[in-house]
Amino acid sequence: AAGVIQSPRHLIKEKRETATLKCYPIPRHDTVYWYQQGPGQDPQFLISFYEKMQSDKGSIPDRFSAQQFSDYHSELNMSSLELGDSALYFCASSSYRDPNYGYTFGSGTRLTVV
């Protein structure tokens, strides 16, 4: 079965650079979520999109932005990167029509800021 695809798997950037993370949800899933997980931490919700509209916002820095495109894939754009942005970034998708929601996580993008 198709899973949530994230790219790239690993990314190394310097401070003050920008990064773009991509997420391709499970086909026919209508909602995408982004989470940030620091070392030894639990995943923290950043932002979500339902049917291409922002549906919820968590602890996402103003330096970050995200959007969901017409094909339902989503991109997380991160600017003016700081050392503290180094983390695993997960995308998850779900479906409003699935009675069990079908939350599924991708394998994540490991961002290292040096």
Partner: protein, 115 residues
């Protein structure tokens, strides 16, 4: 082995023993809960879920118990195997209504299985 109290960062058990991982959730209006297993460098992997109108649900070697009175969730793993070694997170669906909503994760518990 069992993690006591609200949360214990690490639980160490002998292979073949039963494990109990506990979790306290925050929102009494949460209607859906999931247990995830996360191996190093990988994404959270679904183990089992439970809705708020249930107090127990069983899967293959796993059982989730929900106590809404004290907002407590537990994951029981029977006959723990070395492959069960990972970090386990509970998560609650944050929106009290609707079919989609962000998941709020609890602090993870690292399960170490000794051969």
């Amino acid at each position: 082995g069992e993690s006591v109290g609200l949360h214990l960062p690490t639980l160490s058990v002998q292979e073949g023993d039963n494990s109990i991982i506990n979790c306290a959730y925050s929102n009494s209006a949460s209607d859906y809960f999931i247990w995830y297993k996360q191996e190093s460098g990988k994404g959270p992997q679904f183990i089992i879920d439970i809705r708020s109108n249930m107090d127990k649900r069983q899967g293959q070697r796993v059982t989730v118990l929900l106590n809404k009175t004290v907002k407590h969730l537990s994951l029981q793993i029977a006959a723990t195997q070395p492959g069960d070694s990972a970090v386990y997170f509970c998560a609650e669906k944050g929106s009290p209504s609707g079919n989609t909503g962000k998941l709020i994760f609890g602090q993870g518990t690292t399960l170490q299985v000794k051969p």
